[in-house]
């Protein structure tokens, strides 16, 4: 709303300044993991050169606009004690690098997996007494993208041992199960038919390292669980709730499939 009323020139200036600051801070001193590791390939490599350069260009990447909002939210005090994320974590650029690359994780308090979205809401509940942000809302996508971006270039590195192990197995089974009226498993597309044309799409390995992504054909940002729901619905299978234990287990398994690939958030996809 605010954006609509602000004159375009000011909006652009403001946006560019903010993006320049963000871009500068991320470029400094970070190593960039390769887009292909031992045959595991980022979705980036399946995009056209035009889409890739859109992602690479901090000023044109359509996903960057939500990052500005994420930073506002990081600094915004909410709840009775007037706390913001920054009250405790300070500068996200200093405190959050590497975090997104490790999620989802086993959380003893929840006695289950939590991903970044759920962690954000848990922080709001425990430390700010603020209500949860709705899954797939602009706000939750914005904060998730902003935090994920602090790990840009860092290799995906999720723990699948110890208490995470049964969830990993559950996710693997989900991945390999044929589902829906089209009776297809994730792997039948994202392992067995990589690089083939499915109608207008080229099937990638279905990796998560770019998320949250901006999907050009939808003109929207989307979370990892949203693409799971979409891929389920595409084979005419009943999707699960975003944030459900089923999708969390799947997220762990799929993240592991892409171990070593660079966090790219916000990636740009077809």
């Amino acid at each position: 709303m605010r954006d609509v009323t602000r004159p375009l020139a000011i909006k652009l200036l403001f946006g560019l300044a903010a993006l320049a600051a963000i871009a500068g801070s991320v470029a400094v001193g970070q190593t960039q993991a390769p887009y292909e590791v031992e045959g595991r390939k980022s979705g980036y490599l399946f995009m056209t050169p035009a889409t890739r350069s859109l992602q690479d260009d901090e000023f044109q990447n359509p996903g960057m606009f939500i990052v500005e909002r994420g930073r506002d939210l990081w600094n915004r005090a909410e709840g009775p004690d007037g706390k913001s994320c920054a009250s405790c974590h300070g500068d996200a650029e200093a405190s959050m690098p590497g975090v997104a690359a490790r999620y989802p994780v086993f959380d003893p308090a929840a006695n289950g997996l939590v991903n970044l979205e759920m962690r954000i809401n848990a922080e709001r509940a425990a430390h700010m007494k603020a209500p949860p942000l709705k899954y797939e809302s602009e706000d939750l996508l914005a904060l998730t993208t902003y935090i994920s971006m602090q790990s840009r270039g860092q290799p995906v590195n999720v723990a699948i041992d110890g208490p995470a192990q049964p969830f990993f197995e559950q996710g693997k089974t989900f991945y390999e199960t044929r589902r829906g009226q089209l009776d297809l498993s994730c792997g039948q597309c994202h392992e067995d038919r990589v690089g083939m044309k499915l109608r207008g799409d080229v099937i990638s390995q279905g990796q998560l390292n770019g998320f949250p992504i901006h999907r050009l054909s939808w003109r929207a940002m989307l979370s990892r669980h949203r693409i799971f729901a979409w891929c389920n619905t595409s084979v005419r299978s009943e999707p699960y709730e975003l944030g459900s234990p089923e999708y969390l287990a799947l997220e762990l398994y799929v993240a592991w499939r892409g171990r070593g690939l660079p966090i790219e958030a916000p990636a740009v996809r077809r």
Binding site: R178, R179, G180, D183, L198, R199, G200, S237
Partner: protein, 151 residues
């Protein structure tokens, strides 16, 4: 020999699954020699209608996976073989079985079964108990495919 054994097995599996799932509202059919010889309906298939149906997104268009001689449609898929000339390669009976339930031709097939209601995992609620094609649509599409002859 192997083919024949497969056919018998497939028919047996089908009989079992039909009994178990009570797929009573589907027209009965018999699999013989790798095909279904008898039409599912009394009304002969209409190839013009068939050409329309195969393009329809709401009916899992074949174009997701196949190249077809339908130049007005963009983005033909490459998951399965091109269907140009398929009417010369396969008999009408083979085409009918392929459409009804491709898993009976090849258990590992990724091609959907267009006329089957049982044996799915977590099928979307709105698709439960409803095959992708009606019996008449199967006949229409078979009639269309049969006309796709080699030039």
């Amino acid at each position: 020999m192997l083919e024949l054994a497969k056919t018998i097995l497939a028919a047996a599996v089908l009989a079992l699954s039909a009994a178990a799932c009570g797929a009573a509202d589907l027209a009965a059919y018999r699999v013989e020699n790798g095909g279904v010889a008898a039409p599912l309906t009394d009304e002969p298939g209409n190839p013009a209608r068939g050409r329309q149906i195969v393009r329809d997104m709401g009916h899992v268009t074949c174009l997701i996976c196949h190249r077809m001689p339908i130049p007005e449609e963009p983005d033909h898929g490459e998951i399965g073989p091109s269907l140009e000339g398929v009417g010369s390669r396969l008999s009408v009976a083979q085409l009918r079985l392929r459409l009804i339930d491709s898993k009976q031709v090849n258990p590992d097939s990724v091609m959907p079964s267009y006329y089957r209601t049982g044996g799915f995992t977590r099928i979307g609620a709105q698709f439960e108990g409803r095959p992708i094609y009606s019996a008449q649509q199967i006949e229409d599409v078979v009639a269309y495919l049969a006309l796709l002859k080699d030039k």
